[in-house]
């Protein structure tokens, strides 16, 4: 029997396409029909953003990135519509633009405690749907407690920057892979898929990897019996 296929996903908590891509990937895995092991990795889209940025995503994209407001509004309307098509109800009027470095540290903390997938979903929902703040330690600790993590220990970990080096290692790995945007999916450590692709693309990629593994396994067995 072959081992479970591993998928490493680079993503940021404030990346609207990452949440959409997450849903499409999950649909792709369901269509694939077999288990996969998923691990999320850190990618910072806006590391220069203050934790308490006094403005909305519209302000951020127009003021910091120089995109005209009408264009920003058009972009957000488009992405909100696509999110809706996969069952996600984005509420950009409530979004708190912030720095996500601590959220990434929390995802590493959660991984160490076996709850990374739950934490990832909770952070994305908090940011895009519920109007939560995913930059402040106290707010992150509240969110962590909802998935079963020890709130006080999360505060300690984030205050001590316990997983900051792990976040930076993920960012460096992304650079090594040539990743310039997210979401980015690495299947079996060798195949890359960029962006919020349709579920079929993920399912086909997983089938391809599974097929290659089966072929390799058959080949090895035949050699053993020569």
């Amino acid at each position: 029997m072959s081992e479970t296929i591993k998928v490493d996903i680079w993503s940021d908590v404030q990346c609207p396409w990452c949440y959409i891509g997450k849903r499409k990937f999950e649909a792709g895995v369901a269509a694939f029909g077999d288990d996969v092991e998923v691990e999320y990795h850190s990618f910072e889209l806006a590391p220069d953003t203050p934790v308490d940025f006094a403005g909305s995503p519209v302000d951020y994209l127009s003021e910091r990135k120089g995109i005209p407001v009408p264009q920003v509004l058009e972009m957000l309307e488009r992405v909100t519509g696509i999110a809706e098509s996969v069952g996600l109800h984005y509420d950009y009027d409530s979004v708190h633009q912030t720095n996500t470095i601590k959220a990434h540290e929390l995802l590493h903390y959660a991984k160490a405690h076996g709850l990374q997938l739950e934490m990832k979903e909770t952070l994305l929902k908090a940011y895009f749907v519920d109007g939560g703040h995913v930059g402040r330690i106290e707010d992150l600790a509240d969110l962590a407690a909802t998935v079963g993590l020890d709130r006080a220990d999360v505060v300690r970990s984030l205050t001590e920057n316990e997983y900051l080096a792990a976040v930076k290692a993920d960012v460096a790995q992304a650079s090594e892979y040539g990743i310039q945007g997210v979401p980015f999916f690495v299947i079996d450590g060798k195949y890359g898929i960029s962006g919020a692709q349709d579920p079929d693309t993920f399912a086909q990629a997983l089938r391809q990897v599974q097929g290659e593994r089966t072929a390799e396994s058959t080949s090895t067995t035949e050699e053993t019996h020569v």
Binding site: G21, I193, A196, T201
Partner: protein
């Protein structure tokens, strides 16, 4: 023959290349690069 210690005349460094193989996919699928050019 003298040793080239300045780097002059050597080929220019190239951008890092992905060490993974990109699978066939839709190039227009949404993604975020942080600069706005990727659709946010």
């Amino acid at each position: 023959m003298s040793e080239n210690t300045t780097g002059a005349g050597t080929s220019a460094p190239t951008a890092p290349r992905p060490i993974i193989q990109l699978l066939e996919q839709d190039d227009t699928a949404g993604g975020c690069c942080g600069g706005g050019s990727c659709g946010i």
